[in-house]
């Protein structure tokens, strides 16, 4: 094995590469200071292009939580062409590409172990307030979540529980994708990217009907090639998708209304079988009423998603109806937020012969009510306490309390600490599933499956060391209980096995990231997370499949993003990432590199070369025994046109 020396050489090359780029870059020195822009008209000021020094934590540096904000500019400069690839920009998330269609996203561990039918189910994701966490097995169908990246305003990634505000399953984190209001996406935009591994086309038009009513419509389509299996053959999982949608925003006086919707259809190749497909759509409306001291928000949405498997006819249709309201009130030193709502998940599953849901159709209702108060003892010191009570369809009322403290120690430093409880609620996959081998029942549903719980203790600090440097550091200690296990039917009879709640344990770790504006034209953003998991079976557990069934997480992952501007026309971005080895099933650690070299040909046209996973022709991010495929290097040319 000469892996070590090869990897050493590789690092030498990368280091040389980085140094040379730095040296080359310093040639284009800082712009002169001392200009006077006050002679310009407001209109001229509004048209000046600025060199962005946006801090990732912008707007959130007082939040008593570990929050990373992916900005729109970061996404557009990353070379990513999908939402899942864009999520790699958050240092507190681990994004793992499994196959051409499938990604696993996790925060603070528990990325799942599909072999043991355990999925990454402790992370919640919302797109404009609409939950895209599937209630059927708990987890996220990554292939159903696409969005025109240009229209994203920001992605807030919260690692750690967010159950008091967002509810069950916001156990290890919450991803909030927020699109721009339509008044900020006016005019036409076309984006085309093509390479040997994928072709993408997106377009949007934004206009105004009247002064107060603006809208946009968009369409996108792409084809992504299949990845590879361990034997070097094609995984035959190439796929194509088409999607369209709109958003309109109306505001007048103290009221605003948003209406938005999407429809999509994708066809996914299957090895040795007819294509699978996903079809779906959603419509969401939100009403907001602002007054000086209060803000009321009422939101309703309908989401339909269908998935049809290959030849055996398996699949499901899921309809979600959701109505929520939330009001915030300023009263003296108190800032109270309260709200509640109800969600109906109505589904029908077409069962496979050996994997059945019983009953195959259900209407699950999920109600919740919450209240949270932030009390400011002084302008610098505040305490937030809140509780959500959620009526889970399988388990009933569950309290989800949370307490947080934030202290602005000085102009530059915020210290915070939090303790909170969250759960991963039972799903049909825990309570209703029956698996057979031939005609024998191998696994039977457990109607008394309990929620998996976590008590999380966190503390962090954010330091804003002037305009040039900001740093965020968080430590966490989580105590998990009632994690899912597999248990034999009884002490004398093995089959059918059933899901139990007989694992517990703790995890601890650290997350940190920084934003360093090295020069006016160069920003470096390192990020790092380390995680230690100490899980064990409880008394009476069978221990079948070992503790590895709960998770197969790396003990650390890190990334370094470099963002350079050469004048106002040329930019170069590179992001190298390291993901530590997976323990069981084992997968070696890996390094990968994404990059984008862009040239602004005219004020309205951007041309770029984007590269994803540049270091290896093919690499694994997920063990092949778990369904992981060899992911290929992906280089493409992209053009964006605004007019």
């Amino acid at each position: 094995m000469n892996g070590r020396s090869r990897s050493g050489t590789r690092w030498l090359i990368i280091a040389t590469c980085a140094l040379s780029i730095w040296a080359a870059g310093t040639a284009g020195a800082d712009p002169a200071a001392g200009e006077d822009l006050t002679q310009l008209s407001l209109q001229d000021l509004a048209n000046i292009e600025v060199t962005s020094v946006s801090k990732a934590a912008e707007g959130l540096n007082r939040a008593a939580a570990s929050v990373y904000v992916i900005t729109q500019e970061q996404i557009m400069r990353s070379g990513a062409t999908s939402l899942m690839e864009a999520l790699r920009l958050a240092p507190n998330l681990l994004v793992t590409q499994v196959s051409a269609t499938d990604y696993v996203i996790s925060a603070r561990g528990f990325g799942g172990n599909p072999q043991s039918q355990n999925f990454s189910n402790k992370l919640l994701m919302l797109i404009d307030g609409r939950s895209v966490y599937t209630p059927l097995y708990s987890g996220i169908y990554s292939d159903a979540q696409d969005i025109l990246l240009e229209d994203i305003d920001r992605i807030e990634v919260i690692s750690g529980p967010g159950a008091t505000l967002w509810g069950a399953n916001a156990m290890n984190g919450v991803i909030n994708v927020i699109t721009r209001p339509s008044y900020l996406t006016q005019g036409s935009f076309v984006d085309a990217a093509a390479g040997s591994r994928e072709q993408d086309l997106g377009a949007r038009y934004g206009g105004r009907a009247t002064g107060d009513l603006s809208y946009r419509v968009y369409g996108l389509g792409f084809h992504r090639e299949a990845q590879w299996l361990a034997d070097g053959s094609s995984a035959q999982d190439g796929w194509s998708k088409g999607q369209g949608g709109f958003r309109s925003d109306w505001s007048a006086d103290e009221n605003s209304v948003t209406l938005q919707g999407d429809v999509y259809r994708a066809t996914e190749q299957q090895p040795m079988a007819v294509d699978g497909s996903i079809v779906g759509g959603n419509i969401l409306s939100r009403y907001e009423h602002h007054t000086e001291r209060t803000n009321l928000q009422i939101q309703a949405y309908f989401d339909q998603t269908q998935r049809f498997g290959p030849a055996d006819g398996t699949g499901f249709v899921l309809h979600t109806y959701d109505l929520h309201f939330q009001q915030s009130i300023e009263a003296g030193a108190n800032r109270i937020v309260w709200g509640g709502g109800e969600r109906l998940n109505s589904y029908a599953i077409s069962n496979a012969v050996e994997l059945l849901f019983e009953p195959p159709e259900r209407n699950l209702t999920l109600g919740d009510i919450f209240v949270q108060d932030t009390f400011s003892f002084t302008p610098a010191l505040s305490l937030t306490a809140g509780i959500k009570v959620e009526d889970d369809p399988y388990w009933g009322w569950t309290p989800l309390p949370d307490i947080r403290m934030s202290w602005q120690a000085n102009n530059r430093t915020v210290l915070w600490a939090a303790a909170s409880k969250a759960i991963r609620s039972p799903t049909p996959f825990d309570d209703d599933v029956i698996e057979k081998i031939g005609t024998e029942v191998f696994l039977a549903a457990n109607r008394s499956f309990r929620p998996e719980t976590v008590m999380a203790y966190e503390a962090g600090s954010r330091v804003d060391a002037g305009a040039k440097l900001s740093i965020s550091l968080t430590v966490f200690y989580n105590r998990y209980d009632d994690l899912r296990t597999i248990e034999p039917f009884s002490s004398t009879q093995f089959l059918p096995i059933y899901w139990g709640n007989l694992m517990q344990g703790d995890t601890y770790g650290v997350e940190g990231w920084a934003n360093w504006q090295v020069t006016e034209w160069w920003r470096l953003s390192p990020g790092f997370t380390a995680l230690h998991e100490n899980l064990r079976f409880k008394a009476g557990a069978s221990g079948i499949l070992g503790i590895a069934q709960a998770a197969d997480d790396p003990s650390s992952h890190a990334d370094l993003n470099s963002s350079m501007n050469f004048g106002r026309r040329v930019s170069f971005d590179a992001a190298v990432r390291y993901v530590g080895a997976l323990p069981d099933p084992a997968l070696p650690h890996y390094f990968e590199l994404n990059g984008r070299l862009a040239w602004r040909a005219t004020d309205s046209v951007d041309l770029s070369i984007n590269g994803l996973n540049l270091l290896h022709g093919r690499h694994y991010e997920f063990p092949s025994s778990q369904g992981g495929e060899a992911i290929g290097r992906n280089v493409m040319a992209e053009a964006r046109w605004k007019f």
């Binding site: 040379s20 407001l42 707007g59």
Partner: protein, 215 residues
């Protein structure tokens, strides 16, 4: 492959660095420079109530952004506002704001905006830099769109603070929220040329008369 890739990247970047070095500087500006220029310009489009007890000389207070405060101070010597010298102060608490005329609150200081809103309505022009800035009571909020610094305006907040904001300023705003205006009373706040309606053109033709857009 890696060596080849790296080699071409180094070559390309070195070339770009050399080429761009010569054309750089004149066209890009820092966010702080642009925002500071805006703050100076805003003062010319706002009328403070005549009976208000405002500090003299004209005071601009900055919360949470030393870079903007530095830029403002750099501009002080040659840029009087309403024929007064300008003083720039950086503060951390609402009590220190005093009777200043203008306040800039940087991103991430929403607690400051909340505390300010709770402290009553002194006629001060509050400029914020927060996605929820207008909801939190500021009159003007910076929004960065496509690398350009734009702003939105809350007429409701301006009314509460008894400030009159010129239609010329509104015509450049990316969005105007609230206020008891009648339809057609203000320019449509959009940059797209087809959106400039007749009312807007008339106001601008009159040379930016300081009319209040309130009914």
């Amino acid at each position: 492959m890696l060596k080849w890739l790296c080699g071409s990247v180094i070559g390309g970047v070195a070339l770009l660095g050399a080429v761009s070095g010569s054309v750089q500087a004149q066209e890009t500006h820092s966010v702080e420079t642009v925002k500071a220029a805006y703050l100076y310009r805003f003062a010319g489009y706002v009328e403070w109530p005549a009976d208000a007890a405002v500090e003299r000389p004209f005071a601009i207070v900055v919360v949470g952004d030393a870079g903007i405060a530095r830029e403002l101070r750099r501009l002080v010597p040659n840029h009087p506002v309403n024929n007064q010298m300008v003083q720039v102060r950086e503060v951390a608490t609402v009590a220190e704001v005093g009777n200043a005329s203008m306040l800039y609150v940087a991103a991430g200081h929403d607690t400051f905006l909340r505390a300010l809103a709770a402290s009553g309505s002194h006629p001060i022009l509050v400029v914020s830099d927060d996605a929820r800035g207008l909801d939190l009571g500021s009159e003007i909020n910076f929004v960065t769109v496509d690398k350009r610094v734009r702003f939105e305006v809350s007429l409701a907040a301006a009314e509460r603070a008894r400030l009159k904001i010129s239609a010329d300023l509104l015509s450049v705003a990316i969005r105007v929220q609230g206020g008891h205006r009648q339809s057609g009373d203000i320019c449509i706040p959009f940059a797209l040329p087809e959106d400039n309606n007749a009312a807007c053109d008339i106001r601008q033709a009159r040379g930016g008369a300081r009319t209040t857009p309130s009914a």
